[in-house]
Amino acid sequence: MNFKTFSIDLKNKKRLIPQVLTLLSIFLAISYFTFNAQVNMDNRGIAFGFGFLSQEASFDIGFSLIDYDGSHSYARAFLVGLLNTLLVSIIGIFFATLIGVTVGIGRLSSNYLVSKFSEVYVEVFRNIPLLLQLFFWYFAALRALPLPEEAMNFNDISYLTVKGWYVPKFIWTNFSLFICSVIAAIIAIIFVSKHAKKQREEFGKHIPSFYIGLVLLFSLPALSFFIGGVALEFEIPVLEQMSATIFNFRGGVSIIPELMALAMALSMYTATFIAENVRAGILGIGKGQKEAAASIGLNKTQILKLVVLPQALRIIIPPTTNQYLNLTKNSSLAAAIAYPDIVLVFAGTALMQTGRAIEIVSITMGTYLLISLSISSFMNWYNQSVAIKEK
């Protein structure tokens, strides 16, 4: 063995030994825990497996988007929980974006009062733990709402009470046709905007694609109403006397206070972080960019639309998706106020009934992990596609 091969050998060994040790210790730890779990489960007479998912759940869930009652399976209960989690996350993301963008722009306003107001909002809501905000909305603010017989009345259509917010129910006929028309409109808009872009880049011709898109978005669904026989009716909630002292609303859709409190707390808390992202994004655009755009004759809207926003969005979007992910993960606080999300339904009630701690906790964690990883890999792909391509 000459010196050269010996030194390569030594270098390889130096690289190999720590890796082998790491893998070995991970393997040992996992097998130790698995062995213990096996012994523990044998002692209690449970066998590891996911067969319980098809058994009858035999518990009720207070709020469900799909058909569910006690006779359905645990898998169905899991689905109900998952949909509830997604529902509150989507509502939360919508309002968090709305509030966050408004407040973020407000902080940059030249108006002293508006910018101070926005700053106070951010500093107050960012520095109070989300759980406390949630408790405040649920146990203090929403409990102060009136009873059904004295409900807060919005134009005789919708009623806000301590038992929930009653809104009209949409009753559709030929709903699928309506959805088809909306999808068709969206596809048409994509085509129009692509065509407009091509025309602009190749011939310098300006096509008002935004207005065409707006017209398309409203006219196609409207057509489906007039020609396709789509109809929409509202079922308005009505106050009914259940007994001498108990009143309640019948009909309509009831948005339960748990959902309201959770959506409020999540969106107001996350909005503060989004506001900071928006502010940082807009501040991150150099003044020179705006001046350069103005000097080549773009007007104020064009500067915003063509120069500032595309660059600001590149700064804003990555941290904001991170906040969306946080919001989705934070929606698990639902368990604290008994909103039936995946943690409460599955890791709470179902675990209590079946005692299958390992299976259920891993399914719950796996679901969140799957949501997180899919969103973050989508965002990585998106970031790469919008990244500045230097020539």
Binding site: I26, F33, N111, L113, E123, R143
Partner: protein, 413 residues
Amino acid sequence: MKPNKENLYTHVTLGITLLSVGFIDIFFNTFLNFNITGFFPSIISYLSPLILGSFGLYFIRIEYSGNKILDAINKNLNSSNSNAILSLIVIFILIKYVPSLLNWFIFDANFLGNTKEDCTGDGACWVFVRVWFNRFMYGMYPDAEQWRINFSFILLLVSIGSIFILPNKFKKYIILFLLFIFPVIALNLISGGIFGLEWIETGAWGGLSLTFIVSAFALIFCFPIGVFLALGRRSDLPAIRYSSIGFIELWRGVPLITVLFMSAVMFPMFLPDGTYMDKLMRVIIAITLFEAAYMAEVVRGGLQALPRGQYDAAKSLGMGYWRMHFLIILPQALKLVIPGIANTFLALVKDTPLIFVVGLLELAGMIGLAKTNPKWLGMATEGYVFAALVFWIICFSMSRYSQNLEKKLSTER
């Protein structure tokens, strides 16, 4: 009719008159329950202060009027019609809600007394907080033994404070004391069982002190783990790199509440039959691992920000991997990410209330317990406002401190 400097006084008088009518309207509406524009249709009467005020502000919007106050108002509140309306909306919201909030908070509130019946005013019943204050701070910890918690915190504060006062020579001993000796002292002092101190089981710990205990221990332990994970993630040995990435992404992808569930119901299954691990200890381990993943990402940011030349220079001096990292790379990288570490700690403090899911009652949990006490029903608002205030003071001062640090460090470079 556009306001200009020639008719300055006419316009200003007209504007201020309109503005005052608007303000008088909103004042009467708010405090005297009397609507002076009630003869209009309801929608106009509702919007009348806004309409009057925005016309008023339109008339006083005169550029370079020469009057300093007027110019300042115009510049900051009244630069355009939309700005004027926004300012008015904010002012009206303040007039409408701030007085009633203050009334609830201070003027109509009750501070004295010992029972719920002493709360006779319309405002908040701070008697609740006063009576339960000890429980909110110390949980079920026996009253006679609370000096032990106080002593630990005073020791912590004194040693942290001395870092700023003492010369550099002693600093590292204090830091070593804080990292290695203080946790042992504090743990033994608070739990007792030695030196004739009464043993107090962790189930009795609670309140705000538990928040501090959990976050302090989690911070101390998560820091070294986070540093090693960050180094592992940047290692060029694939097995180590991928296991670090897997570990970090696993914890970052799940909510803390499920991790706590895991520590409560799933972890005991993985221990040998018959062994029992304290609930609080399991919680601290869970939070430590969870925060270590976040800490690792923060530290990795610092490692990535260092220029390659630092690594090359260290290697050219003949330093090995560990010497290079501990003597050259980490001291610089960690200094870069001090604000990030502070933010992680902030997130940690804000996350501690979640330990209620495993039945440990820190501040928010104790309030939940107190508000269901039959003698104190209906006190949820006071309790949660109090807790929010306490947490806000802690978190706000910490975030201000980390912002200052960020500014200080960024100018030094």
